[in-house]
């Protein structure tokens, strides 16, 4: 038991270290900006006096390390500074959007995870049949499609006929059922993109296990194919499958940005893209940090779960 706890603590420590380095990277990348923030804000109205005034106001006259520590201290307490374009505190902009993006991601996961695992199991059960080949090829094709293509195809087929709205305009007061209805098309788009990935990886994980001698043994003693897959192969494939699920949830984070733009969904991705367009550096920094933390967190979770399910991995380090 102490082994497990120390492993988890070690991994968490590594995760925190990665996040610290990330925040440093995100902060420093802005330092590399040609000129500085003050000149960027003022643009053509930059005179030496106004630049000096703004630099003072933003605290740019202080050394980088102090500013980094101040910024990080604020971030830890949920204060990301002020948006340059909107002149409002960023935390106020972010809070409702995080909820929306999280809702969309969880909604997608709730559909995509069971669907892809069932499909993956079915496909490995009928391995090398026409069903397997066609599903596999379709999945490969689905992976290759850009998210916005899938999104617009969804709009063309399901929104024009009036079944579902093409714009997912939700806010905190929208009742849950309405939310589920309004967000159906964006969630379906993300599901299509992610399911193909997860299904192929689930299939690969199961087929890897199926190559082991104890499966051969089960087959020789006359177990049914469905029983071999569900009772013998699945328990040993759970670790890679959980890994696949976590990795794909992390992948969803980038998919969400494009889908939010297609469906005009008031989420974090839209905020970030707007930030990039107006070169609103603090907003981009804040959103990048949040997306990156979610990504690191999910990868960490995948790592811990797969180590827990396979004790051999713990002995290695």
């Amino acid at each position: 038991m102490p082994n497990i706890i120390s492993m988890i603590i070690k991994r968490l420590g590594l995760g925190v270290l990665t996040l610290l380095l990330l925040s440093l990277l995100i902060f420093l990348s802005v330092e590399a900006l040609p000129g500085d923030l003050a000149e960027t804000i003022l643009g053509q109205q930059a005179t030496p006096e106004t630049v000096a005034a703004i630099r003072k106001e933003l605290g740019l006259d202080q050394p980088p390390l102090t500013r980094y520590l101040n910024w990080l201290g604020g971030v830890v307490q949920g204060d990301f500074g002020n948006s340059l374009a909107l002149k409002k505190p960023i935390s106020g902009l972010i809070a409702p959007r995080i909820q929306n993006t999280l809702f969309l991601t969880l909604y997608t996961a709730a559909i995509a995870v069971p669907l892809s695992i069932i499909l993956g199991l079915a496909v490995s059960l009928f391995r090398n049949s026409y069903f397997d080949r066609i599903t596999n090829t379709t999945a490969l094709a689905a992976i290759s499609m850009p998210e916005f293509f899938v999104g617009y195809v969804m709009i063309y087929f399901f929104a024009l006929s009036g079944y579902f709205p093409s714009m997912a305009n939700i806010n905190a007061n929208t009742p849950l059922l309405d939310k589920l209805y309004l967000c159906f098309l964006p969630a379906l788009t993300l599901t299509l993109v992610v399911t193909a990935h997860m299904m192929r990886m689930t299939r690969a994980a199961i087929i890897n296990v199926l190559a082991l001698p104890y499966i051969e043994m089960a087959r020789l003693k006359g177990a049914k194919p469905s029983r071999i897959i569900v009772r013998h192969a699945l328990p040993n494939a759970i670790a890679p499958i959980v890994n696949v699920v976590a990795l794909n949830l992390a992948y969803l984070i980038t998919g969400v940005v494009i889908v939010e733009i297609v469906f005009v969904f008031p989420g974090l991705g839209q905020l970030m893209v707007d930030g990039v367009k107006f070169r609103d550096v603090p907003v981009v920094q804040a959103t990048a940090l949040i997306f990156a933390s979610a990504y690191v967190g999910l990868n960490l979770l995948a790592d811990i779960i797969s180590t827990l399910s396979n004790p051999r991995l713990m002995r290695q380090r």
């Binding site: 990330l22 990277l25 290759s144 850009p146 940005v257 990048a288 990156a292």
Partner: protein, 307 residues
């Protein structure tokens, strides 16, 4: 009704595509040498279809000015002309011919994606093999640095970088090539690690060959097969990434014709039941599907037909 029609359309497209792929493969077998022909015969229909599509795209990219009826950024009429005999696929929001821009898009989007992938491979493989060859502290430092860079989702990282360096073609190429080279580094290092331990590399080291000789003449030739398949996959990633960035308005800038921005410019049409914006998006999808089919075949061959 519309669903049935579409389903039928997709089915017909698949059958015709696969048939064309078969014809294309047989043609290739006929015109190439015996050994290449033998190799090509192992391609499944999906991969043949992929090769056909890739050939068509390359043809469009190379001969764009000859095929396209109008100039790339030529403004010909009022916005959003419908499809017809003068403008095959209508005109876009500014009155430029959509078909012409689609052809030029093959040149710009695919060309830049290829350039970025090539650059990423140049940096990634050289650094990756270098790290594997040197080992020790150098390897550790480089690998940990790459790990941190890879901890940021690539789309998010490129958005951050493009905010800083602005949205020019040059910064786009450099930013995405850098981000992608981290992924190539990992693969190249892993592949090189197993080669570095072999006796002939050891022998070359003892002969006193230089590092660059070791990388170029000893390791790279033997790492070629897995890296080639990886090149196809990375090309797809890069291609989808710059299309996504262009779609967000942060990739290739107007008036350069580019498929991602064509989707964004004409996106409003979709609410009126006009499928024009789906065509450039479909062009992106078709090429990535084609490349993936070919890579899938090559990987399947390389893995020794495992299952």
């Amino acid at each position: 009704m519309i669903y049935l029609q579409t389903l039928l359309g997709v089915l017909v497209f698949t059958v015709v595509g696969l048939a064309a792929g078969w014809v294309f493969r047989e043609m290739l077998v006929l015109i190439t040498s015996r050994n290449t022909g033998k190799f090509l015969r192992t391609a499944p229909l999906t991969a043949s279809f992929g090769m056909l599509v890739i050939t068509i795209y390359i043809f469009c990219a190379v001969f764009a000015p000859l095929i396209a009826p109008y100039g790339e950024a030529e403004i010909l009429s009022g916005g959003f002309e419908p499809w017809g005999s003068t403008y095959i696929l209508g005109t876009d929001n500014l009155g430029r011919d959509v078909f012409t821009r689609l052809i030029y898009g093959a040149r710009n989007t695919v060309g830049i994606a290829f350039l970025i992938t090539a650059l990423a491979f140049l940096f990634g493989t050289v650094l990756g093999i270098f790290a594997a060859l040197k080992g020790g502290v150098i390897d550790q430092v480089m690998s940990r640095l790459i790990d941190v860079l890879m901890a940021i989702p690539s789309l998010i990282f490129s958005l951050l970088m493009l905010t800083i360096f602005g949205t020019s073609v040059f910064s786009l190429v450099i930013v995405i090539a850098t981000i992608d080279s981290t992924r190539v580094f990992r693969i190249a290092r892993a592949v090189a690690l197993s080669i570095v331990q072999l006796d002939y590399v050891e022998a070359a080291k003892l002969r006193g060959e230089s590092t660059s000789y070791l990388i170029r003449k000893e390791i790279l030739p033997n790492a070629m097969a897995p890296l080639a398949a990886e090149f196809g996959l990375r090309f797809c990633f890069v291609f989808l990434m710059i299309s996504a960035l262009s779609f967000l308005g942060l990739g290739l800038q107007p008036p350069t014709a580019d498929w991602g921005s064509m989707v964004r410019d004409n996106a409003d049409l979709i609410s009126f039941g006009d499928i024009t914006p789906l065509i450039p998006a479909g062009a992106i999808a078709l090429l990535t599907i084609a490349v993936n089919f070919v890579v899938d075949w090559l990987l399947h061959r390389a893995s020794g037909l495992k299952d």
